[in-house]
């Protein structure tokens, strides 16, 4: 990816994120991060009773400043490890233009553009 100028992102279908922590540990292992450090971190909303009596419970993993979009893996032709291992298969990776197209018409989608995009060697 260091050969192009595209902006890359991670798309998450958060209706299906179960909060399983696979992305967090995959990342820690890939980047060899010490205790307390994360390249992607799970956020939790709820459980909270909604007005209709049902429960709101939502998980979204958020790429941190340590996320390098798995530069090494990408150069080898692999997917970022979080996307590869996501147990719900609710994460996707690619140029943001393509991901934006995939989002269109769907709900409960969030597209992250990690900070590494600005410092990537071009």
């Amino acid at each position: 990816m260091s050969k192009d100028k595209k902006t890359y992102g991670i798309l998450i279908d958060y209706h299906y994120c179960t909060g399983c922590h696979a992305c967090e540990v995959a990342c820690k292992s890939e980047l060899d991060l010490p205790h307390g450090q994360f390249g992607i971190k799970l956020a939790e909303d709820g459980p909270r009773k909604k007005i209709d009596g049902k429960w709101e419970l939502t998980y979204i993993p958020i790429p941190t400043e340590l996320c390098n979009l798995c530069e090494k893996r990408l150069s080898e032709g692999r997917l970022p490890t979080c996307v590869h291992h996501c147990q719900s298969a609710c994460m996707d990776f690619g140029p943001v233009e393509e991901l934006a197209k995939k989002m269109a018409g769907k709900t409960k989608q969030v597209l992250f553009v990690p900070a590494v995009n600005s410092s990537r060697s071009v």
Partner: protein, 788 residues
């Protein structure tokens, strides 16, 4: 829809990197395509790519994106594999105890010395007391399913293989024993995992509704069922009903969440059957052609109208009715059932009612329903493997055989844990002289009434522990400790239920040996006739091909050896739906089920013959607001426990820093109103106590629980605390089994009330915390209730 989900699952598989060979080179690294099961433990065995360097060291594990089983996905425990195999706490070589038991003083010995000590003891006990005085034990889901039983029956010559001190054999066995009585087979949810093309298979259909009953499969992955397959189904449109006392993630996405009082499952299931029959929503054709005793069942469930069940279960009447209709109208529907079915004195009738419920809805063995499954290639069954090497006389000495006719007539293939405990305590019907504990840690994990188990195990003259870390069980009781290998350090096979997968040795750590190798080494020394194999691979070949022993019509036995499986990576026998229509289930090749009546028995003729209840009758938990109102005044909260965590498999993984980073301490969940009433805040250490004992965990405020129920974690110990007694890794400090029962089991000897007890909760203070529970148990004789 299924096409797009399949495409999403196999997205961007780069064929240059992810090959379909079983092994290849990638630069300096060797890549092996196989499965990682245990150690460290897991209930599944996902397909992985194991990358090893030129020294044979595992560099990383990656999910195999070409696997039709997990499609590249892995959970946090496999992704943390490198930390586990490199843990400085690992056992490296055999050890002999040199101090007193509990002092944690050991001497390094060779494998030959260790085997000599063990074999001398075995021969001495066989000669002086009889082989039955030796008990083989293993933990759940770990690498050895058939192996320890085979060693026990075929090398020790004892009929006593037991599941640690699991009271009432309350894991899977109540369900399997029941379904084998009712239709001579077992059912699971069809997630397309019986065929290699999965969701693209033209015969497969996605279930309309899956009813998740008494388990949280996305975390527990019980019994070979990869929980996240349910997410795939949901993406294709499957709806959920979830039956659970707590709001699981699946419950948050369900159309119906039935928040029942723990231990009342049978009444709920009976009421749902009542609605389905009353409203004529059942599958008349299937009922007519393939079931026996429908009218008796219909009469029985009249005892459980929804309003009465609502009173018993705390689930609102309308919710019961609507959920029953929703399930019955699904075409197909399927029940994904779990451990909570087993952990109650109504374990057998609950399994009976749920089998009847899905059967009358016409879900049995249809695509996307509850398919009838056997082990791929019909391999030698698990806990009974090798029983054929024992005489009738020896088999009749099995502990707990009198628990019920079900046990006596061979529908149970393990010695009952409760009976083993009583034999140790009383010396009757004969003394227990040796425990061979393989990958099981009873006092930390599933041993109910743990202080009582502790006192008993100390009495056994000779104990061997085989494990990967020094556990509280090893420190307290072991005379010899053998170091077991991790998953990628062993040759083995995973086959529960489908497909059959290879486990290929890629690495060696210090002097560790696989459980399989240890069993083979011991077997060859003790009874070479029953262990005619030179290598572990030869032994695995025997097991792979063992389906031919049983001559079943389906599935076909394997004709390949271990090396063949290694190269195939996975093997799928030919899958068939509607086997009862095709004559594939009965030994005589006739259509129907392999029972006396040839039908799926809603009314059990076997139970009837044994003088047992032939229909599913609900029994109240032995300690509950209803059955013991006086006790309830003293212990005014219903206690449920043992829900699974992402980070841990039972008592494992506690020594791994990354897992403890996510989950540092045991948590007990309390409703905010109850917590306020008790002056408890989020994060407080609290005592959980009943008349048998107490333990402490950290309060977590949970608005989704019923205010009358609390939910505590199991299997906690603290590898960071000193090993020697009285510390013993703090194994009793947070141990919920200080509160559970032994020898309180269901009518047929199955099912103990692990998840439905009473307790009280109060804040830990300096004043009330002077003696830790572990000191209490190891130095002061327990809580005063321990039976001597």
């Amino acid at each position: 829809m299924s096409k797009s989900v399949s495409k999403e699952l196999f997205k961007n598989v780069n064929p240059d990197l992810y090959k379909k060979d079983w092994q290849w080179q990638e630069g300096d690294l060797t890549v092996t395509r196989t499965a990682q099961w245990t150690a460290p433990g897991c209930h599944d065995a996902c397909s992985v790519l194991c990358y090893t360097d030129k020294d044979g060291k595992v560099v990383k594990l990656e999910g195999d994106p070409n696997s039709t089983y997990n499609q590249g996905r892995l959970c946090m425990r496999c992704l943390n594999y490198k930390e586990a195999i490199n843990s400085p706490e690992r056992l490296k070589w055999p050890l002999k105890r040199v101090g007193e038991r509990g002092e944690n003083k050991w001497e390094r010995i060779t494998w030959d010395e260790a085997y000599d000590i063990i074999c001398d003891q075995v021969r001495y006990i066989q000669k002086e007391y009889g082989p039955e005085c030796i008990i083989g034990m293993q933990g759940t889901g770990r690498n050895i399913i058939w192996q320890t039983p085979y060693l026990t029956y075929s090398a020790f010559g004892s009929p006593n293989f037991a599941l640690g001190f699991l009271s009432g054999d309350s894991c899977y066995l109540p369900r399997t024993a029941t379904t084998y009585c009712l239709f001579s087979d077992f059912f699971i949810v069809d997630c397309g995992h019986m065929v290699e093309d999965r969701y693209d298979n033209p015969e497969w259909k996605r279930p309309d509704v899956v009813m998740v009953w008494g388990n949280n499969p996305i975390i527990s992955n019980g019994d070979g069922f990869l929980g996240h397959w349910l997410i795939d189904l949901m993406k294709m449109g499957t709806k959920l009903i979830v039956v659970d006392p707590q709001l699981t993630w699946l419950a948050s996405r369900a159309d119906y969440w039935l928040q029942l009082r723990p231990g009342t499952d049978c009444a709920l299931a009976d009421a749902m059957i009542n609605v389905i029959i009353e409203e004529n929503l059942y599958d008349k054709k299937f009922v007519e052609e393939f079931t026996f005793g429908f009218d008796e069942l219909a009469e029985k469930v009249k005892e459980y109208p929804p309003e009465k069940a609502a009173e018993i279960t705390w689930v609102p009447k309308d919710t019961i009715i609507e959920a029953a209709r929703f399930f019955a109208q699904a075409n197909p529907g399927a029940i994904q059932w779990g451990l909570a079915v087993d952990t109650q004195v109504s374990g057998i009738p609950t399994a009976h009612a749920l089998t009847a419920l899905t059967a009358i809805c016409g879900n049995i063995d249809v695509p996307g329903g509850n398919i009838v499954v056997r082990g791929a290639h019909n391999t030698a069954d698990a806990y009974g493997c090798g029983r054929w090497n024992l005489s009738e006389e020896m088999l009749s000495k099995e502990l707990g055989i009198d628990a019920s006719p079900m046990h006596k007539d061979g529908f149970a293939s393990s010695a009952q844990g409760d009976a083993v405990l009583e034999a140790i305590e009383s010396g009757k019907p004969y003394p227990v002289k040796m425990l061979f504990l393989q990958t099981t840690n009873p006092i930390a994990c599933m041993g109910a009434e743990a202080p009582r188990v502790y006192a008993a195990m100390k009495k056994v003259p000779f104990n061997v522990v085989v494990d990967v870390f020094m556990t509280p069980t090893a420190v307290a009781f072991a005379d010899v400790v053998l170091p077991a290998a991790f998953g990628m350090e062993r040759n083995s096979v995973r086959c529960w239920w489908w497909p059959m997968k290879s486990i290929v040795k890629c690495s060696q750590y210090e002097e560790c040996k696989s459980d399989e190798q240890i069993i083979l080494d011991l077997g060859k020394r003790l009874n070479p006739e029953n262990f005619p194999w030179e290598t572990d691979e030869e032994m695995m070949t025997w097991w792979i091909q063992s389906g031919s022993r049983f001559g079943a019509k389906w599935p076909e036995a394997a004709d390949f050896d271990f090396d063949g499986l290694k190269k195939k990576v996975m093997s799928f026998p030919k899958w068939e739906y509607r086997k009862h229509e095709k004559g594939l289930l009965r030994e005589d090749g006739e259509p129907g089920f392999n029972t006396g009546t040839g039908k799926l028995e809603l009314y059990s003729t076997l139970f009837d013959m044994w003088g047992k209840d032939p229909l599913p009758t609900y029994t109240e938990p032995p300690e509950s607001p209803v059955s013991t109102p006086e006790l309830y005044k003293q212990y005014p909260l219903v206690l449920t426990c043992g829900q699974r965590s992402w980070e841990f498999f039972h008592s494992e993984h506690r020594q791994l820093p990354t897992m403890r980073e996510f989950h540092p301490n045991p948590k007990v969940e309390i409703h905010p109103d109850t917590a306020t009433q008790l002056g408890i805040q989020e994060g407080d250490w609290v005592w959980i106590e009943n008349q048998r004992g107490r333990c402490k965990q950290i309060a977590t405020i949970s608005p989704t629980l019923d205010p009358r129920v609390v939910r505590a974690e199991h299997a906690w110990w603290y590898p960071e605390k000193p090993a020697a007694e009285p510390s013993l890794f703090g194994v009793f400090d947070s141990n919920i089994n200080n509160l559970t029962t032994q020898c309180v089991v269901g009518d047929q000897g199955y099912g103990a009330p692990y998840k439905n007890l009473l307790c009280k909760i109060y804040k830990c203070t300096e004043e009330n915390s002077k003696v830790t529970p572990t000191e209490q148990v190891t130095r002061m004789g327990g809580f005063g209730y321990v039976k001597r």
